[in-house]
């Protein structure tokens, strides 16, 4: 979906078109969900942030200044809700450190058993477990960036930048650096090479 189509959906939804809204919900729910997981929110908090973000868009749909960039608007809104949620949970740190926040992995994120069940082949399962574990072990900033990048459909760099509060020009280099860090974590866990699926 190109930005022009996205902008048109926003304009139509602002005029009351529920079908256009449905298309926006389908297009960007993956992004909003990924932002909640990037900040390591558990299921209940992630659900609250997710729903609040979509309710806010519904109320603001007629006031979006750049309709074709509504993805970035949603990412920014989700980010704000996540930061509020983390503060409410008492993970209190000074503002300038808030992006370095790294809570413990949420108890209800997928377990290794679930991953093993989901994968058909043992090799794939081992790699999947190692990959998922490596992502969770990334330092806070890299974890946030990589987890947002894992959204479906893939987000634009502008949307990633909005989710992280970073300049859009830094996303490319940071992505490269964080993927390299991830590879090093994989090697350290004994998994080498690329996926057998590629």
């Amino acid at each position: 979906m190109d930005p022009g189509e996205v902008g048109q959906l926003v304009t139509s939804a602002a005029s009351g078109d529920a079908t256009a809204w449905q298309a926006l919900a389908e297009r960007f729910s993956g992004l909003v969900w990924s932002v909640t997981r990037a900040f390591r929110l558990g299921n209940a908090d992630a659900a609250d942030v997710f729903q609040t973000t979509w309710l806010r868009l519904a109320e603001n749909i007629g006031r979006i200044e750049q309709p074709d960039r509504v993805g970035a608007w949603l990412a920014t809104a989700a980010r704000r809700e996540c930061l509020q949620c983390l503060r409410m949970a008492g993970r209190a740190v000074p503002t300038d450190d808030i992006d370095q926040l790294e809570g413990p992995p949420a108890r209800d994120n997928p377990t290794e058993e679930a991953i093993l069940r989901a994968e058909k082949e043992q090799e794939d399962a081992e790699r999947a477990v190692a990959l998922w574990r490596a992502v969770s072990r990334l330092p806070a900033r890299c974890h946030q960036l990589i987890r947002v990048l894992m959204a479906s459909p893939p987000p634009s760099y502008a949307e990633v930048a909005a989710a992280l509060g970073l300049p859009v020009g830094s996303i490319g280099p940071t992505r490269a650096r964080c993927l390299q860090t991830l590879r090093e974590l994989l090697v350290a866990s004994g998994i080498t090479g690329s996926s057998s699926l590629s």
Partner: protein
């Protein structure tokens, strides 16, 4: 080329997340259903202060999670809300500025709307509320209704 490897790894990660941690179906439904909450007859009062994220100018102290101060401004009014957390419940105490009587609808996503009356000084308070998204709609004695931006309580 390093860039190709990055793209392959990124795609593998994306597929992994889609299998292991997709958007829960009930939340996809909730996102679609959010549209029904839009109030086209009301002015929007936006969040202009949140003690969780901002520092109070008077005290230079950031609020605590247990006592959160938020302010919404729009449609010619400001709503100052104090959110008190006691265990799983939240209570809100509000002040309409300029002070005026009015009905305050408490909008929660899963529940029917309940209404609190603001007194002649524009003060209102709720009973215990569960956590989750919240928006207030002020129906003043005169003038246009005002809805606040949604907030996760």
């Amino acid at each position: 080329m390093p860039e190709e490897h990055d793209d392959e790894l990124a795609e593998e990660l994306r597929r992994l997340a889609a299998r292991l941690d997709p958007v829960p179906p009930e939340l996809l439904t909730a996102a679609a259903g959010a549209f029904a909450w839009r109030d086209i007859d009301a002015e929007l009062a936006e969040l202009v202060f949140d003690s969780l994220l901002d520092v109070d100018e008077a005290t230079q102290v950031r609020g605590s999670p247990e006592r959160r101060l938020v302010s919404f401004t729009g449609g010619g009014v400001t709503l100052d809300i104090e959110v008190t957390t006691t265990g799983p419940a939240r209570t809100i105490m509000g002040q309409i500025v300029p002070p005026q009587r009015g009905a305050v609808d408490v909008r929660r996503q899963q529940e029917t709307v309940t209404t609190i009356e603001a007194d002649e000084l524009g003060r209102f308070r709720s009973g215990p509320l569960p956590p989750g998204p919240l928006s207030l709609r002020l129906r003043p004695a005169e003038g246009t209704p005002v809805v606040t931006d949604w907030l996760a309580l």
